[in-house]
Symmetry: none
Subunit: 243 residues, 2 copies
C-alpha cells in the first residue's frame, strides 16, 4: 500500500529539498516521487541529500504540469500552510488525513501535493486537488521546511501501515465500489461546467456556484457508478431551457 | 509544557543539521536546544537552515559534555537507530514515548538526546540515559536524517500538546456552516424525485437511480447554502426535455 502513496513536488526551488524528501520517503517505505517542473534537477545537492535513497531520485518522474502528475490518482491532497477561501474539504492534521485516505489506496494512487518553498501552491493548482491538508503547527511560526512536511506525512503513513488489527474506522464502509481516477473526475468537472453554463447558472461569478458544487461532489466521493448517474443528470440539464 | 522538552544534539557534524533541527523545533513549539561539543558552530549554514528559527539557534546552550546538558532533567531519552545490549528500557515508537513521558514534564525538563549523523551515540552516552527510543522505519533503509528525527519527535509532542482541544476528527471540518433540518431535507428529496421524474430518469426502477443519488447527497452533507444551489439545479432539470 505504501507504494501507492505518491509524493508530488511542484516547482521545487532547492534541489537539496528534493533529495531530503526522497530520503524522508524511503525511510518510511514510500517510493513514488513525481517532480513537476523542478527548477534544477538532476543536481548534485539532490543526490547528496538523498543519502541512501538515490534509487527514489533515479526512479522519479519529471513532468511539465500538475495534471500529468496526478491523472491516475483517486485522491489528490494539496498541502497548504494557509487555508484558501475555496470550499475544498480540508483535513486538519496528518493523522486524520491518512486515516480517511487509507481505504482509497485499494482503488489507486493517492497523491500528496507540496508546493514551492516560498509560495506554496497556486489557487489553480489547489483546484486540481480533491482535498486540502493543513499540518497544525506553532501559530507564531508554522512554516515547515518542505522535506520536513514530507517526512511527517511519510511517517504517519508508515505508522498506519504497521498498525496491527482492527480497522476501527468511524467511516461506513463502501466495499466493492470502484472509485474514479482524477482524469474521470476532470471530465466530470468539464461536463458540470458545460451543463451549468447551458442552464444559465454561471452568470454570477461572485456566487461561486460551480466551486460550491465541485466541493460538494468532492466530499461525496462518488463511485464510478454514481459518477455516471450524475453525468446522466448533467446531460438532462443541458437539454433544459435556461432561466 | 513544550518548552520543557529539551533537544540535545551530540557532536553534530553538519551545521546545517543544527539549523534544520532548530526550525523543526520552533515550528512545533519547542525552544530548548543544547549542543554538546558541535564540530562547527556558530556557522552560516546553521543560521541559513534555521530560517525563521534563528532565535532558537541564538538562545541555545553549548556545552562540553552530555552530563552538562542533562543534569536537571527528570528523564533522558536516547534516540538510537540500533538497539543496544544494555538493559535500558526502550520505547518503540515516538507516540508511546511522548505519551509515557508527558506526565513527567510537570516535574522538570525531559531531554531527547540525538547522536552523531554517522555513529549515533556511544554506549557511554547511552549510559547517561534513562530510556532509549527507537523510531520504527523501513527495515531496508531506516536511517533518518538527524533533523528529520527531531522533526518527528517535535511533531508528536505538539500533537500531544494540542490534543485536549481538538481530536475527534477523522472527519473534515466545515466550521461555520448551517445545516438543513430534516424538514428541509425532506423537501429536497421530494424536489429531487419530481425533477428526476420530469427529466425521464425514473422509468427503470431496477436501476435505483434515485436511491443512489439520495445516498450520494446524504454523504455530502450539504449545508443550507449548498442545498439551495442544488434546488436551483433541480429547477433547471425540471425545465429540460425528457429523453
Amino acid at each position: 500500500m505504501l507504494d501507492r502513496i505518491r509524493i508530488v513536488l511542484v516547482q521545487t526551488f532547492h534541489p537539496g529539498n528534493i533529495g531530503a524528501s526522497a530520503r524522508a520517503m524511503k525511510t518510511m517505505g514510500l517510493s513514488d516521487l513525481v517532480l513537476v517542473n523542478p527548477r534544477q534537477f538532476p543536481d548534485e545537492e539532490a543526490t547528496r541529500l538523498a543519502a541512501g535513497a538515490t534509487d527514489v531520485i533515479d526512479g522519479c518522474r519529471v513532468v511539465e504540469s500538475l495534471s500529468d502528475a496526478i491523472a491516475d490518482c483517486v485522491q489528490v491532497i494539496g498541502a497548504s500552510a494557509r487555508l484558501r477561501s475555496l470550499p475544498l474539504p480540508c483535513y486538519h492534521g496528518v493523522e486524520p488525513m491518512i486515516e480517511a485516505s487509507w481505504p482509497r489506496l485499494a482503488d489507486g494512487p493517492v497523491a500528496m501535493v507540496f508546493g514551492r518553498e516560498r509560495y506554496g501552491l497556486t489557487n489553480e493548482e489547489i483546484g486540481h486537488c480533491t482535498h486540502q491538508l493543513n499540518i497544525p503547527a506553532n501559530p507564531d511560526y508554522g512554516i515547515l521546511n518542505l522535506s520536513q512536511a514530507v517526512q511527517i506525512v511519510a511517517y504517519e503513513a508508515f505508522k498506519r501501515h504497521t498498525r496491527e488489527a482492527s480497522d476501527a474506522a468511524s467511516r461506513t464502509s463502501r466495499a466493492g465500489e470502484a472509485y474514479p481516477n482524477i482524469e474521470q473526475l476532470a471530465h466530470f468537472h468539464d461536463h458540470l461546467h458545460r451543463a451549468l453554463t447551458s442552464a444559465g447558472f454561471l452568470n454570477q461569478p461572485h456566487a461561486k456556484t460551480e466551486a460550491h458544487l465541485k466541493a460538494l461532489f468532492a466530499r461525496a466521493e462518488p463511485s464510478r457508478k454514481e459518477l455516471s448517474i450524475l453525468r446522466g443528470v448533467l446531460n438532462a440539464l443541458e437539454r433544459s431551457d435556461p432561466t
